[in-house]
Every structure is written in structure tokens, then in C-alpha cells.
């Protein structure tokens, strides 16, 4: 499978800012997930679906984790200038994030990376996410639904409690289908059958995915079947998020040319 950079021309977008954002909320949601809300009008204004921020999990310079943590913008309240981040507690950095309380300030850099770029005439979207990867897709689903596009969202997870995004989809009026390992419904072959059945008569004109290599392979197959554009958001360990540290090149090595930087050329890539 090849991941290709999006079209060379970068659509106009706001430059990233670095702010000490007041924490508006930081609450446990379910399973290992927490929801963080930051007062970040500078980011909220311009952020586009699939873009991310770097969050600094320590309040004092010279203390705490040495690197910031990349997190997708889950939702945005442009009127209030707030952004929502849904995060899973994995290791030390995300554990530190849980310590922030309303009123504290969190250093955040963003918006970063290239957003999803559906073809300009796309109106039928299929969105396929698994686990925490869903966080990179929610804003896309919402914004497209608000434009009146036909959006179907597949949410996959280890078990019912670990599926995120269902409430969000409900709230923004997007049809979402929950699939989990527990009852076997997230099995890739059954998803394939499901999608072929639903979409073969009238295929989607854009597929977006994040969070699972196997679902990515499925989306590629379906994209070929339907000859429609497929884009994926990928993860990489990051330091700068801006393209200068070269820490996030995720591809093969050995060639003279470096593989694309996930933070600057991605995190969203075309799948072919």
C-alpha cells in the first residue's frame, strides 16, 4: 500500500499559534478516555477536520514530560472559541493530561498538519474509524453533515464501552454504526460485506479512515472497487509538529530521499 501526499497546493489556512490555553473542562468519559476542553479561539477559528494540536502535559517549564503529545481536534465550538480533545490514557504524557483542572493553563500549538481534502464535488462520504482513531474523523463527519452531505460513520472498538464517537454522531445528526470485537461485528470481512451491500448500488465519492491498519486495507480495496478517493490520517511520534525536527518521518528508509513527514506533509495522506 502506498500513502501519497495530498495535492501539492496547500489550501489557504491559518498559521499555527502557541498559546497557554485556559482549561475549561477535563473529564473522564469511559473506558480509558477523557474529554478536554480548551479555551483556544486562535485555534478554533481556523482548525479544519483532521488537523491536530500539540499539547504540553506539564504546567511548569523544566518539569514533566519532555515532548508534547499530538492530539486531533475532536470538535470545535467556533462561537465560543473552544476546542475539544478526546484522549485515551496510554502512558505518562496522557496520564499527566488527566491532572489538569479547569482554570489551569495548558500550552497548545496548533492547528497543525494538513486536513482531510475531499474532492470538491464530493457529497457522499464514508467514514471508517477505530478506537482513538475516531477522534481524527469526528469533525469531518460533523462539518459535512452540516453541509447536507450524506455521511455514514462506522465506529469500531474492542468492546461496546470502548467505542467512542457514537454520542457525538447522534448529537450532530450523523448516522453511526457501532461495531465491536466482543460480538464479532467488527470483523473486517463482515464489514466488507456490509459496505459492499450498502454502497455498491451508489458508491460514496470519498472515504476517510483512521485508527486501524486492517480497516485501512479494506478502505483501499473498496476505494479501488468504487474508484473513489480514500484518505487516511496516520500516527507518528512527534516533537515539533511543524516539519523541522524530522522526527516523524514514518516511511521506509534506505533511499536517499526521506519519506514524508507525518506532521507537515500529513497526517492525512491519499491511499492508493
Amino acid at each position: 500500500m502506498m500513502l501519497q501526499p495530498l495535492a501539492a497546493e496547500i489550501p489557504s489556512r491559518i498559521l499555527p499559534v502557541c498559546i497557554d490555553a485556559p482549561v475549561l473542562g477535563n473529564q473522564y468519559v469511559s473506558d480509558r478516555y477523557w474529554m478536554l476542553r480548551l479555551d483556544a479561539p486562535e485555534i478554533a477559528t481556523g482548525v479544519r477536520p483532521g488537523q491536530f494540536v500539540l499539547l504540553t502535559p506539564s504546567q511548569t517549564p523544566g518539569e514533566g514530560p519532555s515532548l508534547p503529545r499530538p492530539m486531533a481536534v475532536y470538535d470545535v465550538d467556533r462561537a465560543d472559541g473552544a476546542i475539544d480533545i478526546l484522549y485515551g490514557v496510554v502512558g505518562s504524557g496522557t496520564t499527566q493530561l488527566t491532572r489538569f483542572r479547569p482554570g489551569d493553563r495548558m500550552t497548545a500549538v496548533g492547528p497543525l498538519g494538513r486536513p482531510f481534502e475531499p474532492p470538491s464535488d464530493a457529497t457522499r462520504l464514508l467514514v471508517v474509524g477505530r478506537g482513538i482513531g475516531i477522534c481524527s474523523l469526528t469533525l469531518l463527519a460533523r462539518e459535512r453533515a452540516e453541509r447536507g452531505h450524506a455521511v455514514t460513520v462506522l465506529l469500531s472498538g474492542r468492546h461496546r464501552g470502548a467505542i467512542i464517537g457514537a454520542d457525538f454522531c447522534d448529537a450532530v445528526g450523523v448516522h453511526a454504526r457501532q461495531l465491536c470485537d466482543e460480538d464479532g461485528s467488527s470483523d473486517v470481512e463482515s464489514i466488507r460485506r456490509l459496505l459492499v451491500e450498502q454502497y455498491d448500488p451508489a458508491p460514496p465519492d470519498f472515504v476517510a479512515t483512521c485508527g486501524s491498519k486492517r480497516l485501512l486495507a479494506l478502505c483501499r480495496d473498496l476505494g479501488r472497487r468504487w474508484t473513489c478517493e480514500v484518505q487516511v490520517s496516520v500516527e507518528a511520534h512527534m516533537a515539533c509538529g511543524l516539519g523541522y525536527c524530522h522526527g516523524c518521518a514514518a516511511g521506509e528508509v534506505g533511499r536517499d530521499e526521506e519519506s514524508p513527514l507525518v506532521c507537515a506533509t500529513g497526517p492525512v495522506f491519499r491511499v492508493s
Partner: protein, 311 residues
């Protein structure tokens, strides 16, 4: 505690690294900075800009993961110095550094002694203020670490670059992965270095327990970040007593207090690396706070603080 602005107005932040005069002692560390920061940080205020290490030929760098947070305030990286090569560096990259009116220090590297001479030859006609010779990158498949750990090789590389520098000052960036930094420091000084950067990263390892593999694609990596500060402070102190040329302190500096500690320990200027990742505005904040910090410590010039540690 906080001095009023009238009290601090007279503080002189300028420093000299041999013939190189800088408006202040704050600059980025190689590889932890790029012109991409221009929208977040006023680059024209910095003492200097330091480029990522350049090689003669294009290089792709190491396999992923290339970096990880290794806990306790440290990061490990094995980026491996991907490089566009000298030609493309001159035409594409260097102009973006030069656009800010701040002295540009070009970091050069190589996998063998001769590589340093080629890159210096290739850059001799370009416009920039000084060289930083990176003899200390621990991430290369060969060469890097051994050149920097061997005083003879440090001498040869430094000498060769000085000869090809067309009068530009040559700063040599030492490796900390030695039993004593005195010997390599002295070798670089004898070979004509104008200043020394102390130091590059320490070799470290992070283990992925489930996979029974190193977290980094390259195996080991270079440890940076505020966790290494006590180690580097000691090296700066030692090196500053071993040589007569100025020292640029680099390693774990995250706050204005850290800057002051490095100056006291013997550094004339400092480089900020990993701290910029979590707080891209770090260097600007240091520039804001440094006059007050100096005033609080009873100093009117950076030079008053440099090397003031009493043993």
C-alpha cells in the same frame, strides 16, 4: 523579587564567541529549530540561528520511530540526520535562515574526517556567520561517535575546517560520551576552534517491553531534555576550566534560571533544543526574562555572570 523595567534597562546582553559578536546569548540547538518557527517566535531577536547538521550528500535518516519521550524530562532521538545535501542546502534551505537578519551558524557533519572537508569546501562561497562542527552525533551508523571521542580526530577535523572556513569562526560541538571532556576540548582549541558547544546528546536506550525491541528504529538514540541538565552543567564547568575559548552550553536548558546556571558554570552563550518542542516560545520568554534575572543577581552584563562559580 521582580525588578521594575527602569532598573533593568541598562543590562548588556551581548556576548562574544571569539570574533563573533551576538546581541544576546540565546540561540537554538542544531536539529531543534527551523525557519518554520517564524510564526511562533521572533527570530530576529535571537542571538543566532543554528541550522540542522548538513552533509555533503543527501541522506534519508533512520527508520521510525525516530524519537520518543523517555520519561523523567528526557527525550531520545535517532533521527539520524537526514540531509538534503550541500547543493540543495545552499539553494533551498540557507536562504530561509538568512532572511531574518540574525547571524546564521551552519552545522556541518560527516561520516569520516574527509567528509567535513568536502562540505566546508562546498559551502565556502555561501553567506553565513560561522560553522558549528558536529563531531558528536551518536546516531550515525559509523564515524560520528568515534570522531568526537578521539582527540586526534577532533583535532584533524577542526583544523581542516578552520583552514577551509574562509575566516569564519569555527565552533566545535563536542560529544558528552567520553570519560573526560577536557581532552577533546583541548584538541579543538589547539586546532583553532573559536568556541566549543558543550554538548551533544548522551547515548541512551528505551525498551518496548511487549515487542522486546528498542522503541527507536535505530536501536539506541541520543538523550536530550531537562533530565540531562546536571550532566551537561558539569561538562560545561570542566570544559570552561580546561580551555581559554568561550563555551556554548547546550543540554537540558528549559528556563531562564537554567540559562543563568549555565552562565555561572562557565558558558558564554547557550543553545535551546528540546525545550522548544513543548514550548516554541521558550527562547523569546528567556529574552524577556534575562535582564531581570541578571539584575536580580546583581549583574549588569552577561559577562559578569559567566564563569562565576566558586568551587
Amino acid at each position: 523579587m521582580r525588578a521594575t523595567s527602569s532598573e533593568v534597562v541598562d543590562v548588556d546582553l551581548s556576548v562574544e564567541l571569539g570574533p563573533l559578536r551576538l546581541s544576546n546569548p540565546i540561540m537554538p540547538a542544531s536539529g531543534c529549530f527551523g525557519p518554520e518557527l517564524a510564526s511562533l517566535l521572533p527570530l530576529e531577536r535571537l542571538g543566532a540561528l543554528v541550522t540542522k547538521t548538513v552533509f555533503t550528500a543527501a541522506r534519508s535518516g533512520n527508520a521510525a520511530h525516530r524519537l520518543t519521550d523517555s520519561g523523567s524530562g528526557s527525550a531520545l532521538n535517532s533521527v539520524g540526520i537526514p540531509s538534503p545535501g550541500a547543493a540543495s542546502f545552499r539553494s533551498q534551505v540557507l536562504p530561509r535562515y538568512s532572511a531574518h537578519g540574525t547571524p546564521v551558524i551552519v552545522s556541518i557533519g560527516g561520516l569520516a574526517v574527509d567528509d567535513y572537508f568536502s562540505i566546508a569546501d562546498e559551502l565556502s562561497m555561501a553567506q553565513f556567520a560561522a560553522y558549528e562542527v558536529n563531531v558528536s552525533c551518536p546516531n550515525l551508523e559509523r564515524g560520528g561517535i568515534s570522531i568526537g571521542a578521539d582527540p586526534d580526530q577532533v583535532y584533524r577535523v577542526t583544523r581542516g575546517v578552520v583552514d577551509r572556513a574562509a575566516g569564519r569562526p569555527v565552533i566545535v560541538k563536542l560529544t558528552p560520551n567520553v570519560a573526560s571532556v577536557d581532552e577533546t576540548a583541548c584538541a579543538a582549541e589547539e586546532a583553532g576552534a573559536a568556541a566549543l558547544t558543550v554538548a551533544n546528546t548522551f547515548v541512551g536506550l528505551a525498551v518496548d517491553l511487549r515487542r522486546r525491541r528498542p522503541v527507536l528504529g535505530n536501536g539506541t538514540g541520543g538523550l536530550s531534555g531537562h533530565g540531562i541538565k546536571p550532566l551537561v552543567l558539569r561538562l560545561v564547568w570542566e570544559a570552561s576550566r580546561a580551555v581559554d575559548i568561550p563555551i556554548v552550553g547546550c543540554g537540558g536548558i528549559a528556563t531562564t534560571g537554567d540559562v543563568a546556571e549555565f552562565l555561572v558554570a562557565g558558558a558564554t552563550a547557550v543553545q535551546i533544543g528540546t525545550a522548544t518542542f513543548s514550548r516554541p516560545t521558550t527562547m523569546a520568554q528567556m529574552l524577556d526574562e534575562l535582564p531581570t534575572q541578571l539584575t536580580d543577581l546583581g549583574c549588569r552584563r552577561v559577562a559578569d555572570l559567566v564563569g562565576s562559580l566558586q568551587a
